[in-house]
């Protein structure tokens, strides 16, 4: 048996180290270690509750909007606010723009290099201007000792990549286009919310922007460009990868229990959210029960009491705690490790009979021969993310059409911060279920707690010793060369880990 460590595990957000035991080229055990802690929940204590949406956005530069939205939902709840139509629709537009850029960034910028050989750019023979630019750049690399050749695109692990020109070239063309397309998602967000990352316009009660026709038209134009890219490039590339790496539908299998908090207020959908809340446990659909959430700490670097519900526990960092190997806590639902993310949203939505989800998922399963159960796999996680990108891009058109213009249209409810209150804000970050819990005493934050998607997915073992979902997914991964563990890295990256979020 050999132990291999992937540290730093790059092309994700943040500081993650993954350790695996390998027997005869097969992973027999795995450990996920979050390597960064800042203490946001301690920093929030004693502050004005209005600080929360700004402070907590700084948890993550990839999905700040998700934290901003969870925070203002928690405050809406604590202050008892009715958000006007323009308020929730514009919030959705902010969140949607960030989802689109985030999913496109993950599929292309971060993940595509695991599937398509970037070294092939040097052999490109077509006339695409950007690919030609990259080819010339690759061929003209200066061999000075201080320069890493073709960094940051190379070097990479030697592995089985998509390299046949007829398949690889379109993916590479879309890969280079994606760098510019994802910018549009952020521009859409900035049009409504001022800037991105870290938007200033999200506030309790609604939003600060009074929209005008120019903003909405610009948003619509960029949304249309993204929708075309998703339809003509992203979905096609997913199919190419699915056909070339069908075994990836069986790799990275985890527990298959899913949790969804629900996202995007939508008055035309039952339950009020476009992605509805729910849990899929042991092959059964269950309604979401917030009381079932606890956080285990036995293997996490905290010496506070383990197994408590959000807002119940103190946060006491203990970097030298015996046996602890990660800064990530181990949240559990009914005591079980749960997977969150696009695959959770699609599986739960599918079983709830969500018409858009059902139609798209059925189509994809027909095209690829994949089974619903195989969303519990590395390729299933990527597929869910790509399919969801289309669902969101298409649905955003409705939210945009619902925005009303005119000085008489309110964008934000009025409020005062109460002396004592408790609020919960639930949404879905691109990476999965996100909850913010807020307790106000004497007009100040008494406690604030975030339970975050990557905390669920990349958690260490719980008090019973059960591995976190990603650790479990690594078990039985076969590796051609354990010294170049790309197969394990693929399993990890399919989760789109965000380490800054997971520990915060």
């Amino acid at each position: 048996m050999a132990t291999k460590t992937i540290d730093p595990l790059t092309r994700i957000e943040g500081h993650l180290a993954v350790k695996v035991d390998v027997d005869d080229n097969v992973v027999s055990d795995a450990w996920s270690a979050g390597e960064m802690f800042r203490g946001f929940e301690l920093i929030m204590r004693g502050r004005d509750p209005m600080d929360a949406q700004q402070i907590t956005q700084r948890i993550c530069g990839l999905c700040p909007v998700s934290h901003g939205v969870a925070s203002i939902y928690a405050q809406d709840d604590a202050y008892g606010l009715e958000v006007p139509g323009n308020g929730w629709r514009l919030r959705n537009l902010v969140q949607a723009g960030n989802y689109l850029q985030d999913h496109i960034s993950h599929f292309y910028l971060l993940s595509a290099p695991d599937f398509v050989d970037l070294a092939r750019l040097g052999a490109y023979e077509g006339d695409d201007p950007k690919l030609s630019m990259l080819r010339d750049w690759l061929r003209s690399q200066d061999p000075s000792p201080g320069l890493i050749q073709a960094a940051p695109l190379l070097p990479r692990y030697d592995a089985d990549y998509l390299s046949e020109p007829e398949f690889a070239d379109p993916v590479l063309r879309h890969y280079v286009t994606a760098f510019d397309i994802r910018i549009l998602g952020h521009k859409m967000t900035a049009l409504i919310a001022g800037k991105q990352p870290h938007t200033p316009a999200l506030v309790p009660g609604g939003i600060t922007l009074r929209p005008d026709v120019k903003i909405l038209t610009a948003y619509a134009t960029m949304l249309d460009k993204i929708r075309r890219f998703v339809d003509t490039a992203m979905i096609e590339d997913l199919l190419t990868i699915a056909r070339r790496f069908p075994q990836q539908f069986n790799e990275g299998r985890s527990y298959g229990d899913y949790l969804v908090f629900g996202a995007f207020i939508d008055d035309e959908v039952t339950g009020g959210r476009y992605f509805p809340a729910g849990a899929w446990i042991d092959g059964r659909l269950e309604p979401l029960d917030l009381g079932a959430i606890t956080e285990d700490l036995r293997f996490s670097m905290f010496d506070s009491t383990s197994g408590l519900a959000p807002l119940q526990s103190d946060l006491s960092p203990a970097p030298d705690k015996d046996g602890a190997y990660s800064w990530i806590k181990a949240p559990r639902y009914l005591g079980r490790p749960m997977e969150v993310g696009p695959n959770a949203r699609l599986v739960v939505g599918y079983h709830q009979g969500h018409p858009d989800i059902k139609r798209l998922v059925d189509w994809f399963m027909g095209e690829t021969g994949m089974h619903l159960d195989q969303f519990n796999s590395s390729l299933g996680r990527h597929a869910a993310r790509v399919l969801e990108t289309k669902l969101i891009a298409d649905r955003t058109v409705n939210w945009l059409r619902g925005v009303r213009l005119g000085a008489a249209e309110p964008v934000c409810a009025r409020f005062d911060v109460p002396r004592e209150a408790v609020g919960v804000g639930l949404t879905e970050a691109p990476r999965g279920a996100l909850g913010h819990w807020l307790e106000i005493r004497g007009h100040k934050v008494h406690r604030y707690e975030c339970v975050v998607p990557t905390t669920w997915n990349c958690s260490p073992r719980d008090d019973q010793g059960r591995r976190g979902p990603m650790e479990q997914a690594l078990i039985d991964t076969w590796m051609a060369d354990p010294d170049q563990p790309i197969e394990a890295a693929r399993v990890v990256r399919a989760y789109d880990p965000c380490l800054a979020c997971s520990v915060h």
Partner: protein, 323 residues
Amino acid sequence: MSGYTRRDFLKFGAYFGAVMGLGGAAAPTLAAALQRLTESRPPVLWLHGLACSGCTVSLLNSENPGPLELLTQHIHLNFHATLSTATGSVAIDVLEKTIAAGDYVLVVEGSIPATMPKACRVNHEPIGELVLRATRQAKQVPGADGSLQPLVVATGACAAFGGVPAAENNPTGATSVGDYLTQRGQAARVVNLPGCPVHPDWIVGTLAHVLGFGLPELDDAGRPTMFYGKTIHDQCPRFSDYESERFAEHFGDDGCLFKLGCVGPEVYADCTVRNWNGGASDCIQAGAPCIGCASQDFAREAQFPFYRMNPAFPKILAKKAEG
């Protein structure tokens, strides 16, 4: 800007060849020589401390140059944890080769957990130690006293001034990169690029200036004056509202945003004239107050005002009334 493509060099090569009477055959050699001028510029090494990667994402929002043009035609980014294809041992190999060869432009995103080294590690090494090691080998520039010192570009609020991780209650002893290096007795010329996140133009413009023209002019806080020379308030699109004392009372109102917590008079940055995300908007255009993310005081004390009246406001108004 070092905005030359290989095609440009072929063109220049042909041009110089013709000027010097060498004919077309000499052009490729000349082109190669000219191209080497840019490529022999130092590589960039980007390290992450207590960071959210927001500055990384902001870098990717750069336009003209766009991200791929930036990475391939303008800078040579040896290592960056979010962008490098290299992972695990391959990434460590790249990182160590880069540090061993030295003479790179070091960029640090995020603050340093000075009192809790385990709060941020790369391959078991506390980030503070890695940043210290990387600083010693970085490209040297004249320091404030004229002596040669390693250059460190501290990008974003956290690296420049500590940011949210260093806010009140700070459990990790998070500190800015400049303060950390001082604590460790390491001399360095630290260029601070505050902002949460950094604006793409601020980081790309600074790198381009360093690589093409040398160190830009810096103020006493190490900020390039080309970006941080004036206050938000002095460049505010709602300045006339302030002058005529039309104040927004509620979110969504027209008018100066002082009563909703704007700290623009105390913040040096050019957001309101540069705008964010390729000119899409900025905080004040979206009806939101400047929250001072480029300020040295940003979020630092629990009293720092987000969306509530800046305690300095009555004083500023009184001064205004005095004329």
